[in-house]
């Protein structure tokens, strides 16, 4: 799961994108579609520059990032404690796991109608949908992580006199940290997917709305510009979260 870093510097990593742009330009020059349906790289670059300099894309990105952050933090903040509870109590697992599994299997997009009916348009429905997408996977992963902590850790803790709240802080949390971090990485990616869909339907701004808006105006150059920004931010988010896996006290969960 570690990042692939080439010793030859960043040049090799740019080869793929460069090849893709070249292929794209070549296809565009064939003229299979009118330019309004298949924009050239140059048109997209111009559109991107314009949308960035008039701050529309910047504001859209900020709006989307805010929603993802809010929904994701809410899901993590409630999901990890819920998972701790479920992981510790076999009864709670028996009672609630089927429910959690049901909602996890339900596409969060199925909530879009209710999100709009209940919460209208704007930040709230998007945050709600992100929460619905991220909460259940976080709960499940945390539950599984807690339930699979080797009992030997608790025996050692008892021998050396770790008890009560210290048990949570000094044994349970560090023991599940690697698995929870992996789960958070996956769900952050999921949240970023969901926010675009949410904003396409229930937004007045945001990158998803930018896509929808460009489509309605048949500005495919701006459409692709928004796609580029969405993809780049998604990669950046994962780069950011992958840093968590480099913390020395969680490396054991990834190295063996």
């Amino acid at each position: 799961m570690s990042s692939v870093r080439s010793s030859r510097g960043p040049w090799l990593a740019l080869a793929g994108p460069a090849a893709l742009v070249a292929l794209w330009a070549a296809l565009a020059s064939l003229g299979l579609f009118p330019e309004s349906l298949f924009p050239t790289p140059l048109a997209v670059a111009r559109g991107l520059g314009a949308e960035l300099s008039n701050f529309r894309l910047v504001n859209d990105a900020i709006a989307s990032l805010f929603r993802v952050t809010a929904g994701f933090l809410l899901a993590a903040g409630l999901g990890v404690p819920a998972g701790l509870l479920l992981g510790h109590s076999a009864r709670a697992r028996e009672a609630l796991l089927p429910l959690v599994n049901f909602f996890r299997s339900l596409s969060p997009l199925a909530w879009i109608p209710f999100a709009i009916l209940w919460l209208g348009i704007g930040d709230a429905p998007a945050i709600f949908l992100i929460f619905m997408a991220a909460f259940f996977p976080v709960v499940l992963s945390t539950t599984a992580a807690v339930a699979s902590i080797p009992s030997v850790y608790f025996r050692v803790a008892r021998d050396v006199g770790i008890e009560g709240a210290a048990l949570l802080r000094e044994v349970t949390l560090p023991a599940i940290a690697p698995q929870v971090i992996t789960a958070l990485r996956v769900t952050a990616g999921l949240s970023w997917l969901v926010v675009v869909a949410a904003e396409m339907i229930a937004g007045r701004d945001g990158l998803g709305f930018a896509i929808w808006d460009a489509r309605n105006g048949l500005r495919t150059d701006l459409l692709v510009a928004a796609m580029v920004v969405i993809g780049l931010i998604g990669v950046a988010l994962d780069r950011l979260l992958v840093r968590l896996t480099r913390i020395p006290s969680v490396r054991w969960g990834y190295d063996r």
């Binding site: 850790y153 025996r155 050692v156 021998d159 050396v160 560090p174 023991a175 969960g253 063996r256």
Partner: protein, 258 residues
Amino acid sequence: MSLPPTEALLRFDRVSHSFGAVEVLSELSLAVQPGEFVALVGPSGCGKTTLLNLGSGWIEPTSGRVDRPAGVRMVFQQDGLFPWLTVWDNVRLGLRHLADEAGRIRQAGVLLELIGLTAFRAHYPHQLSGGMRQRVELARALGGGTDLLLMDEPFSSVDYLTRLKLRAELARLLREQPRTVVLVTHDIEEAAQLADRVLVLSERPARIRDEVHLKVPRPRDATHPDVVAAVHRILTELGLEGDAEPPAAASRGPEIDR
């Protein structure tokens, strides 16, 4: 049969234990004296680990009485170290009971020195070899200062040569920091080399079939005649060696529960 009252550090008094319908221990009595090193050997599944778990208080017996001292430390077969802590912090974990930080740091330094891993203090367990990890486990357990150490096959996850080294290391550590030890092992030579008394257990439900006393002072070589004789006797008792010519006899202790 109950034992005469003594100043035993760990005492099992007619202890029986069952898991559901499986009777693992039946009316077992056993007393471990302060400073004594007792080894338990016996067929797999006969109840040795259960016996240690009763001794540490991790489980309570179905019937009978276990008297144990307040602080007991267990050394596990493997992976008992906290992987999220460095060697240094794992050793310090064993010193939590010490009130002052300065004392903890000093003691941790002493223990690391003792196991010869000072240079690895900043390493995490997954960066160590199996033998090194077991040494850290020993250091952590010794940090307790508690009199009773329970060890469940502590060296069975390492190769033979490492095991021989760790045996010698344990004998040396115990000379420097004397403890009362109950050691469960499948390695009969290990039992005979390290222990003052080897208890040979029967098939489940475990009873003490035989008790072999080794009078030679510890530490001793694996090839010491008394050790060899004890090994022969234990193997015979377990039905793994013919009753041919026993070498120089190991002194036979009082038989109990037979």
